[in-house]
Structures are given as structure tokens and as C-alpha cells.
């Protein structure tokens, strides 16, 4: 018999051919009347202005990093909460240690002024 994933391969093939066919038809049949307004980059409907490469405060970067760290901390709490009964005391202590380490990081960031915008 054929491989169980054979239909997936067929699907890939058809999806690819449909895309190719549509692109080709549009290229051959579609009318092309470019003008300056049409050639502008699309910026959500606003008139585009300035360069895409601008300087912005490095503080955003710091905030993004802090967000990632504490967001991940939250993510780890969910599976623990779901399995709380099965993990019992061991899970509680383990999560306590984990949170302590993260809180130390939080206190550090706070005292160092990473949370102040100015």
C-alpha cells in the first residue's frame, strides 16, 4: 500500500499548482496600467512619509525583554496550576523556588531603575 502521508503530498501538489496557475493567469490576462500613486508602498491606508529606518529609544528594548521574562514566568504557572493536585507538595516547593529566582530578578530590575521610563 501507499504511505499514509501520501494524500498530504497530493494536497501539497494541488495547492502548489493552484497558486502557480492563478499567478500565471493574472500575469498573462490582467491589464497593467501603473501610475505613481499605485507604485507607492502601502502603509495601512495612510499616506506614506519618512524612512522606515528611524531611531527610537532603546528603552523599548528593555521593556520588551522584561515583558518576555515575566510573561514566560506566567506561562510556566499555568501547567503547574492544572496539575497542582497531582504534583502536591513537591510541585509547590519547586514552584516556590522558581518564583523566588524570578522575584530576585524583578527586585533587581526595579531597584536598578529598569522600570522607570525617564
Amino acid at each position: 500500500m501507499t504511505h499514509p502521508f501520501f494524500p498530504v503530498l497530493v494536497l501539497f501538489f494541488f495547492a502548489g499548482s493552484v497558486v502557480l496557475a492563478l499567478l500565471l493567469i493574472a500575469q498573462m490576462v490582467g491589464p497593467k496600467r501603473p501610475n505613481p500613486v499605485k507604485d507607492e508602498p502601502f502603509e495601512s491606508g495612510n499616506p506614506p512619509k519618512g524612512d522606515a529606518r528611524i531611531r527610537f529609544p532603546v528603552k523599548f528594548y528593555l521593556v520588551a525583554m522584561l515583558f518576555l521574562i515575566f510573561d514566560l514566568e506566567g506561562v510556566f504557572l499555568y501547567p503547574w496550576a492544572v496539575l497542582f493536585r497531582r504534583l502536591g507538595i513537591f510541585g509547590l516547593v519547586e514552584m516556590g523556588i522558581f518564583l523566588t529566582v524570578v522575584v530576585v530578578g524583578f527586585v533587581y530590575a526595579w531597584k536598578k531603575g529598569a522600570l522607570d521610563w525617564e
Binding site: 513537591f90 523566588t100 529566582v101 530576585v104 527586585v107 533587581y108 531597584k111 536598578k112
Partner: protein, 479 residues
């Protein structure tokens, strides 16, 4: 569910110390920062005591993915000692350069934790975690002296190349997982025993990539380009820490993975490893000769010494393992000492790292001169110092394993290295110059670190027997 957490005690203690240092640093005044040094040292001593207490046990935690055997404990003690000496020799350096003290010590401790994990890991994923914990700490330490542009450059280079090497390592782990069906070293070894033909190309490719990743970390020659710039740009105590501890951690992993668990494949990697060893020794020594900065010379010399250490890996077996562990001990003592004297020469913003800055040091500061001569002679391999004994056992292990050519090339290389090591001594005693060097009163901790290194260098050279026994017992405990 019972979990045996005893194997984690020393490393947990190190992390606890790091967190305490980090927290305390926030709440004390600038003139009280000396407290942080003591807390770090006491924490390291406590962890060392725990490791000593656990000596001789053979336990595993988390389904044996962390092993507590004498091998892991030997390296734990080595890393703890290295961290202690690094902290001792950086106290004055850190104050002179306005590096944030609390973060500096905390990062040293956290990277030490990563190293301990690397030596104890019996699972490739855990090994990788330890390696990353160590590396990220050291990347930051490299760039800690922020006013110095070379430091930022070094940190960036180290980070990019380190990340690149990590990629090799991870891909290797993935391929090995694909071939053996596990990342656990014990299960990989048993899978190797059963299937010899199936997936052997994938396995070889994985082992090869793992090999390359580790070669980056120990700075073996085709993968050494980052070393001089990074060691030169990093704060000197951090360079010493990298040269000794990071290298030792990578060798610990190498020994556990290749000399023990994957030893059935030995015939496949002996030849490339041998080429790597010869290339590393020779290129390291040749490039060291042409340096004008002592710090860069020490960087190249650390490459050459990685080459000598690779000899032990080629030789393998009990004598190779013993020689590897013993040489790491002796190398730690003399390298920390040499970098320590270099730190003592620093004056404010000026590093004083050129050969000419050593001119006349022997008369101006007799202790520093004597100590530096001792370290240089030991690094060059003169008896009766640690470097000689270490090299003797390295070359002997090569001969025992039938690699006489490797022993001869190693001996020729150490002859070559005499050229640049002696140049420092000639500078110190035979040239007129204005070498300054800190007096004892201005840097007591640094002098203590240098004194410990002197003691170690002499002791391991004159009375090597206890340390040799220790190395042998530790290596045997792998099996």
C-alpha cells in the same frame, strides 16, 4: 515520587550565593561592597565543603541525567577554586575600572554553576543547558568594562562566535538523538551497542558536529580565531577565568561524552582528534612567539595548552584521563598566576600589558618577579614545577596508547614555547625599565591569589602523587 536532590547541593549553594550577592548589592552603600567578596567566598567554600562531604558517592538525580560521581566532584572543586581565585584577583581590578561589583561576582558564580552542571550532566540536553548558562555569563563578563571599546568588541565577537558554535553543538545533539533515539548518554551508549549499521552515518555526523562545537569552546586550532581578541579585550581576571575554567568545563564534557559514553566509536574520531591536537599545539605556539603584548601571548599560549590537553583525549583510557585531569589542575595554577601578575601591573586606565612593561619588574617588586618567573618556567615545562609533571604524564599517556609521534611533536612544541616564555623573564631581570606593579598594601587580595597560585604550581610539581591519585580515582569513577 522520591527525588534524590543530594547531587544538586553544591550547585544549588552556588546559585543561592549568586542570588544573595545580587540582592545585597542593591541595598548596601558603595563603601560596603567588600562584604560581597566575603559572601561570595564563603558561599564557594560552603559549596566546596558539601562537595567534599559527598566525595565517594555515586548517585544520580532526575533519571540519572545528573550524575554525582567523583569525576563530577573533582571538576566541581576545580571550578569552585577557579571562581574563588577569579574573585580574589578581580577585587582591585573591578574597583579601578568602575565595573559594577555585585553583578560581576554574581555572574562569576552563575557561570560557575553552569560549569558544574556541564561536568555532572549525563544527558546532552542538560549538558547544553549548563554550557549556555556558563557561556552567557562569560559573554557579559567579557563586556563588563563598558568604557573600553575593546571590551565591547570582544564581548560581541565572543557572543556571535559562541552562538555559532552552539548551533553546531545543538545540531549534533539533534542528529545523535535521531540516530540513537535518546539524548541520555547512557541510553545512547546502549543503543550504540545494539545497532551498528542502522543510521551510522547520521550518528557519525552528529558526533562530528558535537566535536566541532566543543572544539570551539576549548579553542582548538581551526576554531581559535576569536581567542586572542576576546582574551585581550576582556577584563584580565575574566580572561584568566575563561582560559582556565571555561576550558576545563569543555574538557570535562569532552571526557565524559567521548572518553566514556561514546568510547565504542573511538576508532572513528582518533585520527581527526590527533590532527586537531597537532595543529592546535603548533599554531598556538608559533603565533605566540610573534606577539608583543603579554596578554595576547598568554591567549595564544592557552591555545597551545589546549593542544597539549587534546593529546590526553587522543590517548584515552585510564592514563589519558588521569593525565587530562592532572594537567587541568596544574594549568589552572600557573595560568591564574600569570594573569594575576598581569593584573598587578595595571595602573588606572593603562593596562601595561606589553613585554616592555615588564622591564625591571624583578628588582622593583621581587615577589611579583619571582612569581612570574615561576609561572613562565612552569608553563614552558621546566622541572620541578607543575607544568613539567603535567606534561610528563600527558606525553607518557600518549606513548602508552601507542601515539609516540604525538608525544614527540608535543615535546618539540614545548621546546618552541620556551622562546616566548623566557622573553618575559629576560625582560624582568635583564632590561632597565620603569615597571611599576602594585605594592602589597594596595592589592592584598590579588597578592593572596598569586601566592595560592605559586603554592599550587610548586606543590603539584614537587609532590604530584596525591593529586595524581585523585585524578585517577576521579576518572575511574566514570565507569
Amino acid at each position: 515520587m522520591e527525588t534524590n536532590l543530594a547531587p544538586l547541593l553544591p550547585s544549588a549553594e552556588v546559585v543561592l550565593t549568586a542570588l544573595s550577592v545580587l540582592l545585597l548589592d542593591l541595598f548596601i552603600r558603595k563603601d560596603e561592597k567588600g562584604l560581597l567578596v566575603w559572601i561570595s567566598l564563603i558561599g564557594l567554600a560552603l559549596a566546596g565543603g558539601m562537595a567534599l562531604f559527598l566525595w565517594g558517592s555515586h548517585e544520580g538525580a532526575f533519571q540519572d541525567s545528573i550524575l554525582l560521581d567523583d569525576f563530577a566532584l573533582f571538576f566541581t572543586e576545580l571550578f569552585l577554586g577557579a571562581a574563588a581565585i577569579t574573585i580574589l584577583s578581580s577585587v582591585h581590578y573591578v574597583r579601578e575600572t568602575n565595573i559594577h561589583e555585585g553583578e560581576f561576582y554574581a555572574l562569576v558564580l552563575l557561570s560557575t554553576f553552569g560549569m558544574i552542571l556541564m561536568a555532572a550532566a549525563n544527558d546532552l540536553i542538560l549538558f547544553f543547558l549548563g554550557l549556555e548558562t556558563m557561556s552567557i555569563g562569560v559573554y557579559i563578563l567579557t563586556g563588563m568594562w563598558r568604557e573600553r571599546s575593546q571590551a565591547s568588541e570582544a564581548a560581541m565577537k565572543y557572543f556571535l562566535i559562541g552562538a555559532f558554535a552552539t548551533g553546531f553543538l545543538l545540531y549534533g545533539i539533534a542528529l545523535i538523538y535521531g540516530a540513537a533515539g535518546s539524548t541520555h548518554l547512557g541510553r545512547i551508549a546502549s543503543a550504540l551497542g545494539q545497532t551498528k549499521s542502522h543510521g551510522s552515518i547520521i550518528l557519525s555526523a552528529g558526533v562530528f558536529l558535537l566535536f566541532v562545537g566543543l572544539a570551539f569552546k576549548v579553542a582548538a586550532v581551526p576554531f581559535h580565531f576569536w581567542v586572542p581578541d576576546v582574551y585581550d579585550g576582556a577584563p584580565t581576571p575574566v580572561s584568566a577565568f575563561m582560559a582556565v575554567a571555561v576550558k576545563a568545563a569543555a574538557f570535562a564534557g569532552w571526557a565524559r561524552i567521548f572518553l566514556y559514553q561514546l568510547s565504542p566509536l573511538q576508532s572513528e574520531w582518533t585520527l581527526p582528534l590527533k590532527a586537531l591536537a597537532i595543529l592546535t599545539m603548533t599554531v598556538g605556539n608559533l603565533l605566540a612567539i610573534s606577539q608583543s603584548s603579554v596578554k595576547r601571548m598568554l591567549a595564544y599560549s592557552s591555545i597551545a595548552h589546549a593542544g597539549y590537553l587534546l593529546i590526553a583525549l587522543v590517548a584515552g583510557g585510564e592514563s589519558g584521563g588521569q593525565a587530562l585531569l592532572f594537567y587541568l589542575l596544574s594549568y589552572a595554577a600557573m595560568t591564574f598566576g600569570a594573569f594575576g601578575v598581569l593584573i598587578a601591573l595595571k595602573e588606572g586606565e593603562n593596562d601595561h600589558e606589553a613585554y616592555s612593561d615588564f622591564a625591571g619588574l624583578g628588582f622593583k617588586r621581587p615577589f611579583l618577579g619571582m612569581a612570574m618567573s615561576l609561572f613562565m618556567l612552569s608553563l614552558a615545562g621546566f622541572p620541578p614545577l607543575a607544568g613539567f609533571t603535567g606534561k610528563f604524564y600527558l606525553f607518557r599517556s600518549a606513548v602508552v596508547a601507542g601515539h609516540i609521534d604525538l608525544a614527540i611533536i608535543g615535546a618539540l612544541n614545548s621546546l618552541l614555547s620556551v622562546v616566548y616564555y623566557l622573553r618575559v623573564i629576560v625582560m624582568m631581570y635583564m632590561e632597565e625599565g620603569g615597571a611599576e606593579g602594585k605594592p602589597f598594601a594596595r592589592a592584598p587580595y590579588l597578592y593572596l591569589a598569586i601566592a595560592i597560585a605559586v603554592l599550587g604550581t610548586v606543590y603539584l610539581g614537587v609532590l604530584p602523587a596525591p593529586a595524581l591519585d585523585l585524578s585517577r580515582i576521579s576518572f575511574i569513577s566514570l565507569h
